[in-house]
Symmetry: C2
Subunit: 311 residues, 2 copies
């Protein structure tokens, strides 16, 4: 049984080791981290702060029996980093609120933290604070990531205009196809490691008119852009890049791929930071989302809600 | 049953109404709020960002049968604002991650949000984002507050030095005495409304050498200051200001009072923004915490862990 104080000590010790490494690399935006009432962050002049929070709840967003602890910790932070990427931002610090039931052992916690902290380190992010509690039931995590972007340059959902092309980075559907494998066989042989498109998002500043990360599925996330921008969209099913092993349906509706979906009226490069960019459709007048299917027939692009690991 | 999307719409609508009022008052640090991948905040030049996160979990931090929904929402944000106050900071924006079980009705949610948003409005804070999910069990909330303080001026836990006086704002023990009433009679006749000491914390910049808010109880929170500062402390039991209806034990060990506990070698005013300040002891060499009891006898000032509503 892990007591709250032991939990804080453990997190602080593990985060501290990573943070010291980080300090050796570059400037340290985290002036004060774990161990005070608030963390203190130094922002770069001429920048705005970006803040995102994401729950990772056992039974809703993940299952302990399906994934190793490290991968659960990694995905917890991935969700937040991907939101910063979708704004074209630079992530600075993460905050973890974590409630564990009595049954969770220290080994599981250590795995969770190693997975989270390794990803944090790769993207130059310090674990600068959070909260701990005993959980009344499942493992409950809430991750906050704070980042920054040059003033007025952050990519919003609301900037799509009629005539803009619709683009996506990488390929879609991998998480949905993995989920089917989980459902079929229990643990899959290997788990793909989605990456937050942080570098790619930064390169899209000044290019993309609107941007979002594909966390809920293409059909849902494109709708978010259209709703916030007051426009419609037509997507060519044949143009959508489908991940290896996935189906077109996985790519159209599956979530948790963390690719960037964006719109632009400008010339768009073929790749951003090594990742392919594909034109999949066009922003149109009105509010409707339509899909041109493989037979060339236009039909409503209906949303099939992605409910993470629940379905 | 509240679906996730309905929940977001509801929160956005209620938060939006408050935010528009806020925009009329003063500058608006929230450039973008609910409805994008991240919120965008504009910080004041020459300031550092402050970030704090606090869980409010049903069965751990509160019980739905003991408090009206409004008061639960209010206390959820109070915890975060109090952390900003303890740093001498100015709160800017709040982020609410909220998971509700199917059994919770819209009326309860509305009450919770009204309580939270009214407090937010009073302290000039916008609800700028968060996350929602269906809870696998209890009501789960995690509140994030982002604030700012002039560069290098934030009050830390680590600045207490030997010879500094130990001070506390207001009076202690009210929450602990209320908790006893809850245990005895179910609902108490009235519930006191603790306030975050935001204005008081700002006035302590340049005066306090170390500061913390009393959320876990005097005996625990003073220990946090001593541990981070590498010092010991002696507290005079007779000097500790006891709230009306509370006992000395409530005041020494009870949490959730949200007063500020600070140290200083400088002249300290009798009041800060209308709230009395009391000298209760002195920072000493070593690492021990001692209490001079009402009989004048020195003994170890032992910690009696405050576990919110659990005990």
């Amino acid at each position: 049984v892990l007591k709250e104080r032991e939990l804080i000590r453990r997190i602080r010790k593990m985060a501290g080791a990573h943070q010291r490494q980080r300090r050796a690399w570059e400037g340290h935006p985290v002036v004060a981290g774990i161990g005070d009432d608030c963390a203190i962050l130094e922002m770069t002049a001429g920048h705005e702060a970006l803040v995102t929070t994401d729950f990772s709840l056992e039974g809703v967003h993940f299952r302990r029996e399906w994934l190793p602890a490290r991968e659960i910790g990694r995905r917890c932070l991935l969700r937040g980093l991907s939101d910063i990427a979708a704004m074209g931002g630079e992530p600075l610090a993460a905050f973890l609120s974590l409630a564990l039931p009595r049954s969770v052992e220290q080994r599981w916690l250590d795995g969770f933290l190693v997975g989270l902290l390794k990803l944090a380190q790769r993207y130059g992010v310090a674990l600068a604070g959070g909260d701990v509690a005993q959980s009344p039931g499942a493992v409950l995590a809430d991750i906050v990531v704070v980042g920054q972007a040059p003033k007025g340059k952050a990519l919003r959902r609301s900037g799509a205009r009629v005539g803009d092309g619709i683009y996506v980075t990488g390929a879609l559907g991998r998480s949905a196809s993995e989920l089917k494998a989980f459902r079929g066989r229990g643990r899959p042989r290997h788990v793909s490691l989605a990456e937050p498109r942080v570098e790619q998002g930064q390169k899209l500043r000044g290019v993309a008119s609107a941007c979002i990360d594909v966390s809920d599925g293409l059909s849902t996330d494109l709708r978010h852009i259209c709703e916030e921008s007051g426009v419609g969209a037509v997507v060519e099913a044949e143009a959508v890049p489908v991940a290896q092993g996935a189906t077109l349906q996985d790519a159209l509706h599956g979530g948790d791929d963390y690719e960037l979906l964006f719109t632009s009226a400008k010339p768009v490069p073929e790749k951003a930071a090594g990742v392919t960019i594909t034109l999949i459709g066009e922003i149109v007048r009105g509010r409707k989302l339509e899909l041109v299917d493989v037979a060339g027939k236009r039909k409503p692009f209906e949303e099939k809600g992605w409910e993470h690991f629940r379905r």
